[in-house]
Amino acid sequence: MEKISITKIQALMLGITSITVTGHLLFIPVIIVHAGRDSWISLLLATIPAMLIGFTVALLSQRYQGYSMVEYSQIILGKWFGKLVVFIFLFYFFHEATISIRGLGEFYTSAVTPRTPIMVFLIAMLVLAGYAVRCGLEVIARTNQVILVTLIPIGILASALTHKDKDYRNFLPILEDSFGPVWDGTLPIISLYSSIFVLSMIFPFVNDTKQLKRYSIITMIILIMMFVGPVTGVVAIYGAERAQGLYFPTFLTLRDIEIGALQRLDILGILLWSLGSFSKVTLFLYAIVLAIAQLF
């Protein structure tokens, strides 16, 4: 009987931050490698699966009110089979947390401070995440709220500042190699959006689950919109050919902003990804800890 309660907006904000940031950092290059100048079509194509996953998570949580994924899997599938499925989820959470934290570390070592051992970043982030998880879900949710509120203006600012360098004719020709590459690019986006499933560990603590389905679907649409800017921006600036094969294309676009005195905005990028990765790692760590606690 947990009395932790967060609002559904807070819960969904957790989802938004965690997906957006690792998405921008690690998935956009993947999408672009696959889909090239048609990445935006991949993005649009991913809308429906994204809404589907949002709907599914919300519906499951609504149907089994107050139960987390761990508990309702066991209710639905029976004790042992349910546990097996939970174990798969758990492994995934673990994997995702590892990858995103490692991704942040790699980002720092290859783009910001190359001589600092990567361990420093990993441990520091984990210490922070551990501390936040210790403080409880409410604290995580509130911290994330602050983070997201800071990140969104930075993101908008960044895409506004890079506007000068963008050439939207780089998107022509559309579908040069028909739909093949676009499908390839859609899959990473879908997988990225699927990770909102982690919210199934959070939804039991939401104090008001009315209209949760609608809210989740709106969240997914917001997520899509948050990816439109960076995905198109990178292609518009670098051209499809050069955009393929950049490790951190979004960071590079920020790095090269030069508008009068507004130059060298690396710090924005660093801030963006550090804060976001923190949110994501914290969320996943919380999910893992909670899932293990409920599983055994």
Partner: protein, 413 residues
């Protein structure tokens, strides 16, 4: 799993909140971990570089000497002795050169000569010597793309001699020659000329996109009164892929800028109507060009729609050019000029086998099927026609309607 209950007030009752933690022992572990971590940190400062341990590189020249890359780095020279503490953004510079089989190798060798670590994050300009440019610039910029320290905002220029010579010139306006060079290009619109202003990022984009070839600004040392005193922006260098093929000078060199809509605030000269050997000068205040290819059979027609506005600011002919009949002539002359620039530069580039206007890219954008047929060779350049429409508007004529020159003439009549 241990459950801990803590009490918290809220909503009147004391609620029991269950927090999942096995706290008591973990507290100690956490503290230990934190202490360990901070101790670990204290051994840190891995990436630290004090300002007086780095040499800020402002410009880099790349030459090819005996199949090796020769890198010349121009660094800011810190003030000595009494000057210390003075500061200011114009400090004297020092240039140092070294060779190596790769660019990074050469930079390593440079660091053997420099007591301070060369720091490339504030690179203003990268200069390619003529010889290197003819062999290909792509291998020379690989490191600049990769390294986190360097920035894609550095300007790229070509010089006719060696880059080292150019960097080592002392000039009259400004202490730091590479900064002067970048200002020569970046602030060209203020000085009413136009430069290509190709940055590392643009070059990366252009080189990796099929169907377009780069054009770089050319900067040469300029002798005045028998001594090099300044730099000169001298036309553009035309590349085929990453290899320098030739140069274009004078008004022809503006073709690429016209196509890329970059001609704002520059000056166009034209012949006065009815009078040979008399000229007017026209300043562009608003310039926009739209390019669209059109495919008819085998012929590619590049439709260029130029709209420009501007001021008539100077004339040598004693005519009131604002009269309607002359006005049309002036506008026609401007259109002629623009057409000539575009076509002449293209002609030169075509002979060098270079698609500087990105005709191929445009064709690909609108006729991807056809592009698949023609890609791979630059033959299509021979089948390109131009259809240039210039819509020019003379908006203003400075502070006077007709110049004194006209009045003088009226008197004499």
């Amino acid at each position: 799993m241990k459950l801990r209950t803590i009490t918290k007030i809220g909503n009147g009752k004391i609620e029991h909140i269950i927090i999942l933690t096995g706290v008591m022992t973990n507290m100690r572990i956490t503290k230990c971990c934190l202490i360990m971590f901070f101790l670990f940190l204290l051994s840190g400062c891995w990436d630290k570089k004090e300002l007086n341990e780095v040499a800020v590189v402002m410009g880099v020249g790349i030459d090819k000497v005996d199949k090796e890359y020769k890198i010349t780095a121009q660094v800011i020279k810190p003030p000595t002795g009494e000057q210390a503490g003075g500061g200011g953004s114009e400090l004297p510079t020092w240039s140092v050169s070294a060779t190596g089989r790769t660019v990074l190798g050469a930079i390593r060798n440079l660091n053997e000569l420099s007591p301070r670590r060369l720091y490339f994050a504030h690179l203003q300009v990268i200069i390619f010597g003529d010889e290197l440019a003819r062999e290909g610039i792509a291998p020379a910029i690989a490191w600049f793309e990769r390294d986190r320290d360097s920035r894609a905002g550095a300007l790229l220029v070509v010089t006719k001699g060696t880059a080292e010579d150019l960097l080592n010139q002392k000039i009259e306006l400004g202490n730091v020659s590479s900064k002067s060079m970048s200002e020569l290009i970046e602030r060209s619109t203020i000085r009413q000329i136009s430069a290509m202003e190709i940055k590392l990022r643009d070059l990366m984009t252009i080189l990796s996109t099929p169907g377009i070839e780069p054009v770089l600004d050319v900067i040469n040392p300029k002798e005045i009164r028998g001594k090099v005193e300044t730099f000169e922006l001298d036309g553009v260098a035309i590349f085929n892929k990453d290899k320098l093929k030739g140069y274009v000078y004078g008004s022809d060199a503006t073709g690429t800028e016209i196509i890329n809509s970059k001609l704002n605030f520059s000056i166009i000269e034209g012949k006065c109507p009815k009078q040979e050997e008399e000229y007017f000068a026209f300043q562009i205040t608003d310039f926009l060009s739209k390019v669209k290819p059109e495919l008819k059979g085998e012929r590619i027609t590049l439709k260029v729609n130029v709209t420009l506005e501007g001021n008539l600011l100077d004339q040598t002919c004693p005519l009131d050019l604002l009269k309607t009949e002359y006005l049309h002539a002036v506008e026609k002359e401007i259109a002629m000029n623009i057409k000539n620039s575009v076509e002449n530069e293209f002609q030169v580039a075509k002979n060098l086998g270079s698609d500087i206007y990105g005709v191929g890219r445009e064709v690909r954008r609108f006729y991807p099927e056809y592009w698949k047929e023609i890609r791979g060779s630059s033959d299509y350049l021979n089948r390109v026609d131009f259809d240039i429409k210039v819509k020019s508007n003379l908006r203003r004529s400075g502070l006077i309607i007709d110049p004194t020159e006209v009045k003088v003439k009226e008197e004499t009549d």
